[in-house]
Symmetry: C2
Subunit: 442 residues, 2 copies
């Protein structure tokens, strides 16, 4: 993409309303623009990141055998009356009345609707287990939306729902999602810690939140500092195998959010030097809740014994749009964002320092074409801005690599390659720069 | 995907509420399930098709230089009051009041919101032209939703918006979308005819609808039958070149929807034998409306002369979810759907006629692995159903190829390959079958 043609409305000044760094940076870089309180438009740069995160979440779900569908944003109130949550949910639910005076709502979550789909389609344990997910916009009418996409009203969530005939199966489904979440967050370049959590309006008996540690987080969290050194799950996982050893490892140390925190247990289980008390951002939340929805909604299956029983369910959420903010909170510096490679909107920012100079134009065009041909996403700054402004913009938007073409180097056959994270620079021939970006020996 | 594990709730009987064939087939094949009036959940099979269509639409938009973003589903009423459409839009607009008693609405279209984004970001003709699009769910509170996803209330639309400094530029932007639409529908396996159309609530001075001819269509249409023989635009198009010859060709014959139909002109311009009077399905609609929104919303740019003027705009919509139904209307037979290759949920249905038979299992597993390795999407029927039911289901869901492994062939080293469209069958060695499916000489 050529910057001269790209819709990237970078702001010179930070809007006053932004309180946290991710919100400031997302507004300044033109990633998002507020449409109205807690509701954002995702401009091209931001939308690219959102889609990359969504795709990683999807791939890790598919790897578990979960199947993707898409439920609508608008739901009928009837189902929520069946489950008993329509009155309970309170003012966070956006309630709507249509032209025929029927009660609708903008889904804040989908337990009822997926249970309705299930009860009309599945009758026997032979069709279990099932795990169905979707990635869809949700709405929660927060009383005070803030922190940009971190606590917006309209937000993108991946939520899935597991169906099993008994507790052992449900437990395995829970474990699969636990492991998939660890893998998902690791691929996103995040260190997420599973913490015992309260179940809130979803309800249920077993629940973990996945928390990114960050000073700006909304929750107070308490955990053993060993978690910081736990290895990510890089290798492929056989989801049909017994996953309990992985779960055991990741729950072997104390970790709890405020709501579940037990000060005495924390003091007793964690040596003082390892007690980490900080703040965190919830990026995922998993629940096992058995028959909480299947029972009132009559989602029953025939067990192997022939008897009919309510199906055992769990639900599992990842805040996809919130993750954009969370990643920035975890990865930035004074100059701007530092994108992890996996979610960077472009891999390379190619700066032509002097458009109009024949050498610079030739070298920049050549590099641009070669990077595109190699499948590398590149943003070419071909604008008339002065050098300082170009460098500042590239640092601000935080692409992993910067490739700088200036008159001196272009004459001598070299370019400058800069790694955004760390800031190392080197002057080298174009071939070597491309090889380095592609991660091959150059 | 193994059918035994796939969430594909095929119905034995057609629900009584379905009046048209696409609706019947989408319900029967478990592609969608109605959540409430005019609102559907897309089950895994349907969602695969929806995403394929979406991706083709996206690729053809990107090829024109249009840039993707994502505006939210919920909008503030304020902007619509600025444009004057809040009161005008009538009962089709889903109006919402939030917990703070602020007026919101579920966007039926996005002219106001994109103009708001534009006016805060672009100031000069030097940043034009721009063409921004998104693919997002919309809501129109139809008084009588019907025909399944063809006339639902919550529906997926690709809409884009062009911004130019003058009419010549706006006309070129309009032409680009005209050409992109022809290409998009051709890739989807559809013959779409551009017809002069009324502008309706979007407004404007120039407008074409893209219509698929179908008996079940909602609009009466009148056109010259030559259109049926026009060649699709298969070759790559240079969108920076003058496109007027293509537009001229595709508007050289009479074609109009009911609202724009002029019986005298039709009689005068079209020989009687070439007068086609039938029904059609609108799958795309493009509008040029100049300053209709930019003027009231104050979206002005500095022209080359230095003077400030409202930006010239157009908007362009494709009904992505409706296309799923339209394609089925255009491509089915008594036995079920016949998917065009480009949007088929899977390319091949691989039927193991006798799971448990060692030969059948070995051959089916081998074919399954080889097709997956070749990047061919395949649905393996490994269920215990009897042969007749398996054949019927495969015909019903309409995958382009069927590959049948039975005990006799498996022993002799052959399989049966069937083309869903046309129904030709041949018995041949597995290697040749795979080569034929992959479109290579076998």
């Amino acid at each position: 993409m050529r910057l001269s043609q790209y819709f990237l409305p970078v702001l010179k000044e930070t809007p006053a309303e932004a309180q946290i760094v991710s919100h400031r940076l997302m507004l300044r870089t033109g990633m998002v623009r507020q449409a109205t309180a807690g509701i954002y438009s995702w401009l091209p740069l931001g939308y690219r990141v959102l889609r990359k995160i969504e795709q990683i979440v999807r791939e890790e779900q598919d790897a578990t055998g979960a199947q993707e569908l898409l439920m609508p944003t608008i739901q009928s109130a009837e189902l929520w009356r069946e489950s008993g949550r329509y009155e309970d949910y309170g003012k966070e639910m956006l309630r709507i009345r249509d032209r025929h005076e029927r009660d609708l709502l903008y889904g804040p979550t989908n337990e009822e609707l997926i249970t309705d789909i299930f009860r009309h389609s599945v009758r026997s344990y032979r069709d279990l287990p099932r795990n169905l997910y979707h990635i869809q916009w949700k709405f929660r009418d927060e009383v005070r939306p803030r922190f940009g996409v971190m606590r917006g009203r309209e937000f993108l969530m991946k939520d899935n729902y597991s169906f099993d005939v008994d507790f052992a199966g449900a437990r395995h489904s829970y474990n699969k999602m636990f492991v998939a979440y660890l893998r998902t967050f690791a691929r996103l370049g995040l260190k997420a810690i599973p913490m015992e959590a309260a179940t809130g309006p979803i309800g249920g008996d077993m629940s973990h939140e996945f928390i990114i540690l960050a000073e700006t987080g909304e929750s107070q969290v308490y955990c053993h500092s060993d978690f910081l050194d736990f290895d990510a799950l890089a290798d492929a996982v056989d989801y049909n195998s017994d996953l309990s050893a992985i779960i055991k490892h990741w729950t072997s140390r104390y970790a709890a959010t405020d709501e579940k925190h037990a000060a005495e247990r924390f003091a007793a289980e964690v040596p003082a030097a390892k007690q980490l008390t900080t703040r965190g951002i919830e990026v995922g939340h998993i629940f096992y809740f058995g028959a909480k929805y299947s029972k009132p909604l009559g989602a029953v299956v025939a067990a192997p014994t022939g008897e009919e029983k309510p199906v055992e369910m769990g639900s599992y959420g990842i805040g996809v749009s919130r993750l954009v903010g969370a990643i920035i909170e975890a990865s930035h510096d004074e100059a701007g964002i530092i994108w992890p490679e996996a979610v960077a909107p472009f891999r390379v920012g190619l700066i032509n320092l002097k458009p109009g100079d024949a050498n610079c134009d030739r070298v920049a065009s050549d590099l641009y074409a070669r990077l595109l041909a190699a499948g590398v996403e590149v943003l070419l700054d071909d604008t008339e801005q002065r050098a300082g402004a170009k460098f500042a913009t590239m640092d601000l938007i935080g692409l992993p690599w910067q490739l700088v073409v200036g008159p001196r180097g272009a004459g001598a056959g070299t370019v400058e390659l800069k790694r955004r994270r760390g800031g190392e620079r080197s002057e080298l021939p174009a071939d070597q720069a491309i090889a380095r970006i592609r991660g091959r020996p150059g």
